[in-house]
Symmetry: C2
Subunit: 143 residues, 2 copies
């Protein structure tokens, strides 16, 4: 998959395609991985979307120096190992991982897994939601 984004006017957008399609695109490759930071010009996080075929895991365990990671399963199932803890994953499973934890993820035996991974600097969020949002009186273009 080769992804390009449209960037203009303070936003950038791209189309990953339906997640079932993402799986269909993958069979020629052992692992399909798409990083999104450079594509979209992200400045607060790195994100990637990855698919593994059955029984495939990450090539090595890893931890992080300063980044928190969040994994969200978009399709399929599998397992995740966090130090010496093993948990089950299925569509909609979401896992936050401290930087120091050694992690790996393995696709289950029956179908491909597709997951999103988000990296952000630990403790970098200073405010959010009502504390960061501002109401705007923009005229909707869809009415």
């Amino acid at each position: 998959m080769r992804l390009t984004a449209t960037k203009a006017n303070g936003f950038a957008h791209a189309d990953l395609g339906a997640f079932s399609k993402f799986l269909e695109d993958g069979p020629g490759e052992k692992i399909s991985k798409q990083f999104l930071r450079d594509v979209l010009g992200l400045t607060g996080v790195e994100m990637s979307i990855t698919s593994y075929p059955p029984d495939v895991c990450m090539p090595f365990f890893h931890s992080h120096k300063q980044n928190e990671e969040i994994y969200l399963v978009l399709k399929g199932s599998g397992k995740m190992q966090l130090d010496n803890n093993l948990i089950d994953l299925s569509e909609g499973s979401i896992v936050r991982v401290d930087s120091s934890v050694s992690r790996n993820l393995k696709c289950g035996p029956d179908e491909d897994i597709v997951f999103l991974c988000i990296q952000a600097k630990t403790d970098s969020l200073e405010q959010c939601n009502k504390g960061d949002g501002k109401r705007e009186n923009t005229a909707p273009l869809w009415e």
Copy 2:
């Protein structure tokens, strides 16, 4: 939907359920929205998963003081307005929005939309991927 997470040993995990199930849970509510920061103990981002029924949009336009936002459509279709720009959304659409941009999102006429929204402080990511990751020699528990 009332979500709880299991927190221990440097990680936290929760189960959003299959995204089609997330839609099925929603019909009693006009808008179903689940914030994830407090549930998972996130420190670098706020995240939410939201579903809207057909033709429903956010109750108001908003911008942000310092946070970048990223929207990812998990199911369904709709439109997003960014200041005076209108773009189409479908499963797999991903949009990065500068803090100052006024934004809103409207579900299409035919089916519910489910989307993920991530907030992170603009320019807060200092390093990532190989620059932040460390290989670990952890013994896999699945072999």
